[in-house]
Symmetry: C2
Subunit: 118 residues, 2 copies
DNA sequence: ACCATAACTTGCGAAACGCAAGTGACTGAG
DNA sequence: CTCAGTCACTTGCGTTTCGCAAGTTATGGT
């Protein structure tokens, strides 16, 4: 009796992905991380202007889900940065497929450039 | 002055895709359509048990967005079926990429089989 | 002491969601 | 010809989530 695995809604892989990434903001945070952003303020300064509480919530959920790690990059005062785990990096092909479809059907849209590291 | 295209949130293709597909249900309707489902009751009988009002709303939005077409497959009484347009079919690579990542990170999840046509 | 910065948290009104039940147009059974 | 049944929705309503603004905590710089 280990065969009854508990999924939130169904055993469909798409469904399970949507249960963690299915909203208007989570994938944008992933996008920012892929583009090289790491710090809280960098995420809030993206053009979509994510609200602070939504960002905090999404980062927490992504960390819980193992897509992102948080660690202090300095003490006094403590400052944190976020990095994609291998699991999180694995979403790059999904983002690529979305960009291909998006650029085709939203004329004028353009992939954002990587940010330079500090 | 045609250069100032109006996007909901930003010119990022991912953002624009999320503005139409960024929720827990829309992509599941697309999945069902890709699997061969066409009628209202077929969608509501999927294991995720989408609520009727949510389904009606999503189908309407997908039709407005040009991803889906609706047409009567019989009269007396009128019955409708939904089909993916070419634009909607274009999402298959996105679904494939999601399935690949999903199967890897949600052990036990399994792609659903196509439904037979009536 | 005072201002600034980073990373959050809190409050609250507005919008979206989810469940149940209802509606209208018919069809086939008795 | 009445009545249960099917299909494709719509309506009501309570709960949850969202989104904007403002507040908080810790610390450094001058």
């Amino acid at each position: 009796m280990g065969s009854t695995m508990k999924f939130k809604r169904s055993s469909c892989p798409i469904t399970n992905v949507l249960d963690t990434l299915g909203d208007k903001w989570t994938l944008l945070v992933i996008r920012d991380l892929v583009l090289g952003k790491r710090r809280y303020q960098e995420f809030t300064s993206s053009p979509e202007k994510i609200a602070s509480n939504i960002l905090a919530d999404r980062l927490k959920k992504l960390e819980t889900g193992g897509l992102v790690t948080r660690h202090a990059y300095q003490r006094n005062p403590v400052r944190y940065e976020y990095l994609l785990t291998e699991k999180g990096e694995g979403l790059k092909p999904v983002l690529e497929a979305i960009i291909v479809w998006g650029k085709k059907h939203y004329p004028g849209s353009k992939r954002f450039p990587r940010v330079e590291q500090h």
